[in-house]
């Protein structure tokens, strides 16, 4: 016989209510069941009206991020058994507008992401006959940790600065900018600096450091931002002392 745990799930039904409320459900669980499995149990067996996002169930699609007992988590990688005997609170990600129940609007992040050009920028492409762009294992290692980001937005949810100032471009976008800046094939760092050297770019960050702690992929956005600040500061010193120099 499986054990049972109580889930308190945040509900927001804009056609009925103007504030979020909590509905409580009791679900059976075994030790391999994630919070997402609990939500699926609710949806399939108890209350089909519950709305939430999920896809891969294996920590790679980044769509099932929610606030579990106050902490931003991927619900597919957070286990019910760890919260026994409950009750366990599941809320939508913080710092984003809630569309319904556990679903938030991610448009802001998507627009910010594009602004930092998270792709390889080249001033001139090599002809195909010129062969591939070679990269040594050391060069790969430079940016690889930052390339693990799955855009789950847990870092935005953990970041009080983003909560306070929604114009702040945010942890994941900066980490992804760094991922391409540090790639030896890329030539777009000056373009990205335009966006990131704004006050709402890297300088808005005061290094709370929670983004790094909640990242399910160990990306270290906080480190990326501080490194970026150092680079930007050194660049601007160089520009100051050698204004027209190389």
């Amino acid at each position: 016989m499986a054990q049972r745990i109580r889930l308190q799930i945040a509900r927001y039904r804009p056609e009925q209510e103007s504030e979020a409320t909590f509905d409580e459900y009791e679900v059976p669980y075994t030790k391999e069941m994630a919070v997402l499995d609990g939500l699926n149990f609710v949806k399939d067996r108890l209350d089909g009206t519950l709305a939430y996002r999920w896809s891969c169930r294996m920590g790679i699609c980044g769509s099932c991020g929610m606030t579990v007992n106050g902490e931003p988590k991927l619900t597919c990688a957070t286990f019910l058994g760890d919260y026994a005997p409950g009750p366990l609170r599941v809320e939508p990600l913080r710092n984003f507008p809630v569309i319904r129940d556990l679903i938030v609007d991610i448009g802001d992040f998507m627009r910010k992401l594009v602004r930092v050009k998270p792709w390889i920028v080249r001033s001139a492409e090599k002809p195909i006959a010129g062969g591939e762009y070679l990269q040594t294992p050391e060069q790969l290692e430079e940016y690889k940790p930052f390339s693990m980001c799955i855009n789950c937005m847990l870092c935005y949810s953990a970041c009080p600065i983003y909560g306070l100032d929604p114009k702040f471009i945010g942890p994941a976008a900066i980490a992804l900018a760094q991922r391409y800046n540090l790639d030896n094939r890329d030539e777009g760092s000056a373009d990205r600096m335009e966006v990131l050297s704004e006050h709402e770019g890297i300088w808005g960050c005061t290094f709370v450091g929670e983004c790094t702690k909640v990242c399910p992929k160990h990306v270290d956005p906080a480190g990326a931002i501080q490194r970026y600040k150092l680079t930007a500061a050194i660049d601007s010193m160089k520009a100051f002392f050698a204004p027209r120099g190389a």
Partner: protein
């Protein structure tokens, strides 16, 4: 081309101030703030301390410590008011006042050390 912002410079000064104050202040607070007043160790004599401060290297270290610590304070103070208390509408006033105080403080430090040398 990069747009000119004061932020990189202010951040550099803030960071330098963080390192310098982190390295020097704990021992100075321990001695001047706690150990001497409590009499755990004898405070330096007037002549001894005056001679020490008159040393150009010591004076330079002290000036660096004071100026960078003030700038470190100004930067953090401004950001904490901005984030912690959400008084963004006063951001510019706060910035001018904080960095202004830091500059005046650095000026006072320079004057005192100059007179003591």
């Amino acid at each position: 081309m990069l747009r000119r912002h004061p932020e990189p410079l202010l951040w550099m000064l803030f960071s330098a101030g963080g390192v310098v104050s982190g390295m020097l202040m704990p021992v100075l607070v321990l001695l001047f703030g706690v150990a001497y007043p409590l009499g755990v160790v004898d405070a330096p004599t007037y002549d001894g301390l005056r001679a020490l401060v008159a040393n150009p290297i010591a004076a330079l270290v002290l000036f660096t410590l004071c100026a960078l610590s003030f700038l470190h304070w100004a930067h953090r103070f401004r950001h904490t008011l901005y984030d912690g208390l959400q008084i963004k509408h006063l951001n510019e006033v706060i910035a001018v006042v904080s960095y202004g105080v830091a500059l005046v403080g650095s000026g006072v430090a320079a004057y005192l050390l100059w007179q003591l040398s």
